[in-house]
């Protein structure tokens, strides 16, 4: 290699190819992913994050929760994600389109949280989460700096949001433990993590065969779309018209008026969640 310029061009091309291939390629495929409008529900999915939850995600990010928790459920049969009740279906790219800071994570020291608010058989509520944050759990530290321990005023009632603690955790008489705004936001965020709606590309592969087992929940018996077989991976292969039972899907970029739902007459209703 004697020519500096040619060498430089080569280095440029090498980085350019991997950038164009992976970054631009996936951007072209997923960059315009639209929310999914369901006729029966007359709503689009996924839904926007509530303001409190969006603030909670910032807390989640700045505490570094991602070091121990993933937020991606793998498809049934690949790992024990489904058996552990982390989610009935795999996570797909469409689940994240409204998340400003998707925290997929890469380590499972703690459980997956992608679907925490919709866990089976019972999902924790905000109180449970605040308790866990205060007391800590097996393998999880307590985050007491997210709480304020303060004196109850003379003759005053304890605060409404004071934690009801028992045993050794109970504060001394006349004291109470109340969550700070950060703790409340974090709990609101964690409760809001749910993927109740099964997108066509996310229909469980395993469900295609032993359908009766999967239909235990009150969800509509949904013939898994053909695209579901491999769609976890390539949701937009046939973009823009996603194959759902062979019918093009309506993909309005914004919540569409109800009348527009007729855009996909005859399409099998995508499976609904339990809620």
């Amino acid at each position: 290699m004697k020519n500096n310029f040619l060498y430089f061009l080569g280095v440029f091309a090498a980085l350019g190819i991997s950038w164009a291939g992976i970054v631009l390629g996936s951007n072209a495929q997923l960059g315009n992913l639209a929310p999914y409008y369901d006729d029966n529900e007359q709503a689009t999915f996924p839904s926007w994050m509530a303001g409190q939850a969006a603030r909670g995600q910032l807390v989640y990010k700045d505490l570094g929760c991602v070091a121990c928790h993933t937020q991606q459920v793998r498809r049934p049969g690949f790992g024990s994600d489904q058996e552990r009740g982390w989610g009935d279906r795999q996570s797909v790219a469409r689940d994240y389109i409204y998340q400003p800071f998707p925290q997929l994570g890469s380590a499972r020291i703690g459980p997956d949280l992608a679907n925490l608010g919709d866990r089976k058989p019972s999902a924790p509520d905000a109180d449970d989460i605040l308790h866990l944050l205060y007391t800590g759990g097996k393998g999880m530290p307590s985050y007491r700096f997210l709480f304020e321990k303060r004196k109850v005023g003379v003759g005053a009632q304890p605060a409404l949001d004071a934690l009801s603690l028992t045993g050794s955790q109970k504060p001394a008489e006349g004291w109470e433990v109340v969550p700070t705004n950060r703790a409340t936001a974090l709990a609101a965020y964690l409760v809001s993590l749910k993927n109740p709606y099964t997108f066509p590309e996310a229909a469980p592969v395993a469900a295609a065969k032993d359908d009766e087992v999967k239909n235990m929940n009150p969800a509509a018996p949904n013939p898994p779309p053909k695209a579901g077989i491999d769609a976890n991976a390539e949701p937009d292969k046939t973009s823009p018209a996603m194959v759902a039972g062979g019918t093009p899907m309506a993909s309005p970029p914004t919540p569409a008026p109800a009348g527009q739902a007729a855009a996909s007459p005859g399409a099998p209703a995508p499976q609904q969640g339990t809620k």
Binding site: M1, K2, Y7, G10, V11, F12, A13, A14, L15, I17, S18, W19, G21, I22, V23, S26, N27, L30, G31, L33, K61, D62, L63, C65, V66, A67, C68, T70, Q72, R74, F78, G79, S80, R84, Q90, S91, A93, R94, Y96, I97, Y98, P100, F101, P102, L104, A107, R108, I109, G110, K138, G139, P141, Y143, R144, F145, D230, N232, A233, P235, D236
Partner: protein, 467 residues
């Protein structure tokens, strides 16, 4: 190390710049080591320092990683690459003020990143614990540091270039591109949804294969033939190995996203690329296997590093397959792979490079042979213990993660035995690095005669007396 090293004006003219880079690198190495111990302790017993918001496990791991990668690896790698390029140019480095200023600001940037992480400025992405405001500082200062290296590359004496040239210049070019792309696409005008983790994963992989690996391969390709004094075997293939790394290396990152909510072609592409990359690894092995026989401290470190590099490439291929990834994904095996690459390969080769370069830069032999031996023993033992502990912990973790009846909290408890091994390993590594740092400062301070700078002299000595 007892032989008096060769000493040329090419080296001595740039000693100030290079020592500044190396001194800051070693400072970060020790800081990163302390933080890594804290992280290992927290992984073992989560209650450790849990009351302190600055030291949540998530923040400590990021602080440790940033100190290690951007503090230690970058500073030390840049110092050695500048040194190698300067030597190959056959004349003292030009525009050294740029490198000095750049180093200063680079370290200010890394400090800001570590302090930022302590205050919660996290990104959530692996190898990218750099807050938005730091990225521009790092971008500009890296270019400033690279200028003398690029001038040495373009102004070399002979027209022909060597393998060290290719790897060194590539490392100098690529990092600013990478960080600017990431800055624009993830922070300035962030893309939506899962595109963020895809881009972050691409960056993390490129930072390893296209930036850190070229940094230390540049050093290995220079030092090994220098020590052995022989022509490099199969050198005619070296350029092929280089271009394979550049063109294929950036495509291998998707293996971490297997089963994730991303297009399937990304992990599939990674399987193919990881396998293709073995071609590069094979050529590196063929070229540099001569150094394995060498008996100096430098070649021992470098041959250990190259063995780790080759092993790492093989493990990457194996774990990129679906069936294997099912067991290794999301476990501490990922961490073990990362340590094998960043510590086992990159760090040890840079250690070897520093052992070879410092006596030439300073013109003096190492201060203490005992400290050199201690460092070698402690480092190799520490790395092996760390890897073994993490792998054994990940075996437990992997089996129990697949068993739906074992709650996650219990798994953490079952790993504790192995995780205590990781703590011991981190302590051993830190001890070795403290010995190394002490040896480095003692050696270089002797040269710079820092022991009695004028501003610490007695006032009377600095006064001008007029009678």
């Amino acid at each position: 190390m007892s032989n008096k090293p060769e000493y040329t004006p090419v080296d001595s003219a740039s000693s100030c710049t290079l020592l500044f880079l190396l001194a800051s690198a070693l400072g970060w190495l020790v800081i990163g080591g302390v933080l890594a111990i804290v992280a290992a302790l927290q992984l073992h017993s989560p209650a450790f320092l849990a009351h302190c918001p600055v030291f949540t496990y998530g923040r400590v791991t990021v602080m440790a990683e940033t100190s290690f990668v951007y503090g230690w690896l970058a500073n030390a790698g840049l110092a050695l690459v500048l040194w190698v390029l300067g030597r190959l140019a056959g004349e003292p480095l030009r525009a050294q003020n740029w490198a000095l200023g750049g180093t200063l600001f680079w370290n200010v940037g890394v400090t800001a990143a570590v302090v930022g992480a302590a205050c919660g400025e996290l990104t959530g992405f692996s190898l990218l614990g750099l807050p938005k405001f730091v990225q521009l500082i790092l971008f500009a200062s890296y270019i400033a540091i690279a200028i003398p290296g690029l001038l040495a590359w373009t102004g070399r004496l002979r027209q022909v270039s060597f393998a060290s040239h290719w790897y060194g210049a590539a490392a100098l070019f690529i990092f600013p591109w990478l960080i600017s792309i990431v800055h624009v696409m993830l922070f300035a005008v962030p893309v939506r949804g899962v595109l963020q983790p895809i881009i972050a994963g691409w960056y993390a992989q490129c930072a390893w294969t296209l930036w850190i690996a070229p940094l230390f391969l540049c050093v290995a390709y220079y030092v090994v033939p220098k020590v052995t004094g022989k022509t490099m075997p199969s050198y005619e293939f070296a350029s092929l190995g280089f271009w394979t790394l550049l063109f294929v290396g950036g495509l291998t990152g998707g293996r971490h996203l297997i089963g994730g909510p991303v297009p399937a072609w990304i992990p599939s592409l990674a399987v193919v690329s990881c396998a293709l990359l073995l071609f590069h690894t094979l050529i590196v092995f063929l070229n540099l296997k001569g150094g394995v026989c060498g008996g100096t401290v430098a070649t021992r470190f470098i041959s250990f590093g190259l063995a780790a590099y080759i092993l790492g490439a093989l493990v990457d291929v194996v774990t990129s397959f679906h069936g294997i990834a099912l067991h290794t994904q999301f476990t501490l095996f990922d961490e073990a792979q990362k340590q094998l690459a960043l510590y086992g390969a990159a760090t040890t080769v840079l250690f070897g490079g520093i052992y070879f370069a410092l006596p030439r830069i300073t013109g003096k032999a190492w201060f203490s042979g005992a400290l050199v031996k201690a460092h070698l023993t402690l480092t190799l033992a520490g790395i092996l213990l760390l890897l073994v502990s993490l792998v054994l912990a990940s075996v437990t973790q992997s089996q129990e993660l697949l068993d739906k009846n074992i709650p996650l909290g219990d798994i953490a408890g079952h790993m504790q035995v192995w995780l205590s091994g990781a703590i011991v390993a981190q302590v051993i590594l830190l001890l070795g690095n403290v010995a190394f740092t002490a040896n480095f400062y003692l050696t270089s301070c002797r040269i710079l005669n820092i022991s009695a700078p004028a501003w610490f002299a007695t006032p009377a000595a600095t006064e001008t007396h007029v009678s």
